[in-house]
């Protein structure tokens, strides 16, 4: 049933391991991102699918056919590069039609398909331009059209948005996802930008040092990271610690305040040190009041050490019992953010505490 199977792939450069034990099964039409820092093996893995690298071990099966050792031009794979890689001597039309021409499609049909592609990327008017006459965003859209024009079985995108400005990046991201869903094309997307991977993908493969750290939906990766590396790479983490008030209990003492966890710490003795992690956006800051809060939430007093206004989001560095924490809130036009030195009350849901464990 799986459309693309990467089976136990391994790639060495000399004696350095680039990719090790890479397993992935993708269904038809799925959008999977390979996410990781540079050197994590994500690009090497994609290049093995494209045929530009030969795996030292393992197989690649596409639609039931073993393509592990097929030349790149014999695989039906479309590729989009970070540097656009448009042919500078060809017009937009000829670029898009390049793969069709090679497949010996009749000229009239090529013209029709190119028109269709130009419509898809909303550049119908610009067919006669040369790549040098286009903006970066336009060039990358042409590169996308060129890659999908010959109806490849798999579309590979290698950090396609890294060279673009932030605003264009976000717009083109949405466009790529829309086109991918409209065509139902099986897609692998390589990126080091966690927001990009999260926002685009059906599933994300988080990689580090040539190994797969976790495979899952963006929501699962973010909210139930399998390893500390994943948790830290896809978001910011605050680490807090406290002592268990009672053997096997669910309450920690942090400074002079009690904090409840979502689960009981079975088998842990009273006074043992327990740490847990909180995402900055899982914490809500309030002005300090004497009013009783929501009993379902935990409250901690904190001193504000710094406030950074980012626009939509206001980021505070606060101090809780000598632990530095990062807290994110949305900008509120009716209430300016607290000042450095203010004391605030932090509220968080026990269920937001991640990777609770003994120190």
């Amino acid at each position: 049933m799986d459309f693309l199977i990467l089976n136990d792939l391994r790639k060495l450069y000399g004696s350095a391991v680039a990719v090790e034990q890479f397993d992935l099964r993708m269904s038809r039409g799925e959008f999977v991102s390979f996410l990781g820092p540079s050197g994590s093996g994500k690009t090497t893995t994609m290049r093995m699918v494209a045929g530009f690298e030969n795996p030292d071990r393992g197989t690649i099966v596409l639609d039931g056919m073993d393509i592990t050792n097929l030349q790149p031009n014999k695989r039906k794979v479309g590729m989009v590069f970070q540097s656009y890689a448009l042919f500078p001597h060809l017009t937009v039309r000829d670029n898009i039609g390049f793969g069709l021409m090679l497949s010996k499609m009749p000229k009239a049909e090529i013209g029709k398909r190119v028109d269709e592609m130009l419509g898809l990327i909303q550049m119908t008017e610009l067919g006669q331009r040369f790549p040098s006459q286009l903006s970066g965003g336009q060039q990358q859209r042409v590169a996308l059209a060129r890659a999908i024009a010959p109806r490849p079985q798999v579309l590979l995108l290698d950090e396609p948005l890294s060279a673009l400005d932030a605003k264009i990046r976000v717009g083109l991201r949405a466009e790529i996802r829309a086109i991918q869903q409209a065509l139902g094309i099986t897609t692998i997307y390589v990126t080091h930008d966690q927001e990009e991977a999260m926002s685009l993908s059906d599933r994300v493969v988080v990689m580090s040092h040539g190994r797969v750290e976790q495979v899952g939906t963006p929501y699962a990766i973010y909210n139930t990271p399998a390893t500390t590396f994943v948790a830290g790479f896809v978001g910011t983490l605050n680490v807090l610690q406290g002592t268990l008030t009672q053997t096997g209990g669910d309450t920690l003492r942090i400074g002079s305040t009690n904090v409840r966890l979502a689960t009981k710490m079975e088998g842990r003795k009273a006074d043992s040190l327990i740490k847990f992690q909180l995402r900055p956006e899982a914490i809500t800051p309030h002005p300090v009041t004497d009013l009783p809060g929501n009993p379902a939430l935990n409250y901690l007093n904190a001193r504000v050490e710094g406030v950074t206004f980012l626009g939509a989001v206001v980021r505070m560095r606060v101090n809780v019992n000598d632990s530095p924490l990062s807290v994110d809130t949305f900008n509120n036009p009716r209430m300016p953010p607290p000042q450095k030195g203010d004391t605030v009350q932090l509220a968080f849901d026990p269920g937001a505490c991640m990777s609770v464990a003994a120190v």
């Binding site: 494209a50 045929g51 530009f52 030349q71 790149p72 031009n73 014999k74 695989r75 794979v77 479309g78 590729m79 590069f81 540097s83 890689a85 448009l86 042919f87 500078p88 001597h89 390049f98 793969g99 090679l102 497949s103 040369f130 790549p131 040098s132 006459q133 970066g136 590169a143 060129r146 890659a147 010959p150 590979l156």
Partner: protein
């Protein structure tokens, strides 16, 4: 600090103009003036007429044409030969064997540094006796001359092609073409060559100019003064006004080549800018 008011700009301009004048323009003008004075006390084109019509004997066509034709033929062969060798090699080394690049760079500079005279002796010694007695036949000697020229212009052709290749990110373009279904021949002819057009034409024109005007190697391999360079030298020794006329003609030919190179070079700059943008 607008450039108009800057004194450095002014002096640089003066320096350039002076150098060019002393070493390129004044000699040209002097030669031109002299070439018009074959007839005493009047300006005339007689020297040019003489160049175009002087025959070695009653039967043969004027030497000017035969020698120019001969050297032009050698030049064209040199262009074909050097491009055939250098373009695919340089592409492949850049694309697939970057570790081999320093070796290529080394070989490409070497011929530039070897005096033509040394090359000439080496060839004469090696290829005048069996097993490779190339100089026994005109074709063999010509082959040797073309080979020598190919080696001689290699630094320029290699650098030109190499610069052209580097300007177009061959790695990604090649991979893009491959993933679209292109075989190696398609990659070279439909993707690489069109983008090297400027570099290749520029290298060809330079090669042409060098090969047509070359004296040392041509004179040693063809002592019968068959080549254009030898012909110019012979005229220089035996005539008074014709050399000046010849110089002017050469200048004009060369200028035509250089301007052509320049015009094409400008196109290439645009392409390069485009790729970078």
């Amino acid at each position: 600090m607008s450039s108009k008011n800057n004194p450095i700009t002014y002096w640089v301009a003066v320096a350039i103009v002076t150098i060019c004048a002393l070493y390129l323009i004044v000699p040209l003008l002097t030669q031109f003036d002299f070439s018009l004075r074959m007839k005493r006390d009047v300006l005339s084109l007689d020297a040019y007429v003489s160049v175009f019509t002087t025959k070695p004997n009653a039967v043969d066509p004027p030497k000017f044409y035969t020698s120019l034709l001969f050297s032009a033929g050698m030049a064209v062969l040199t262009i074909a030969f050097s491009l055939l060798v250098i373009v695919p090699t340089t592409f492949w080394v850049n694309y697939r064997l970057p570790k081999f690049k320093p070796v290529m760079d080394l070989f490409s500079v070497m011929p530039f540094a070897i005096p033509g005279i040394v090359l000439a002796f080496g060839y004469l010694r090696t290829y005048t006796s069996p097993p490779l007695a190339l100089t026994n036949t005109d074709a063999g000697t010509a082959f040797l001359l073309v080979g020598g020229y190919t080696v001689g212009v290699m630094p320029y052709v290699y650098r030109s092609v190499d610069t052209g290749l580097r300007a177009i990110d061959i790695r990604t373009l090649t991979e893009a073409a491959r993933s679209l279904g292109a075989g190696w021949a398609t990659v070279i002819w439909k993707v690489i060559m069109p983008n090297l057009r400027a570099a290749v034409i520029s290298a060809s024109l330079i090669t042409f100019a060098v090969a047509v005007g070359e004296y040392t190697l041509a004179n040693f391999l063809f002592p019968d003064e068959r080549a254009f360079g030898s012909y110019i030298a012979a005229i220089g020794r035996n005539r008074i006004f014709e050399p000046a006329a010849l110089t002017i003609i050469s200048y004009l030919l060369v200028w035509a080549c250089v301007l052509a190179v320049q015009r094409i070079g400008r196109g290439s700059t645009q392409t390069q800018t485009a790729v970078i943008r």
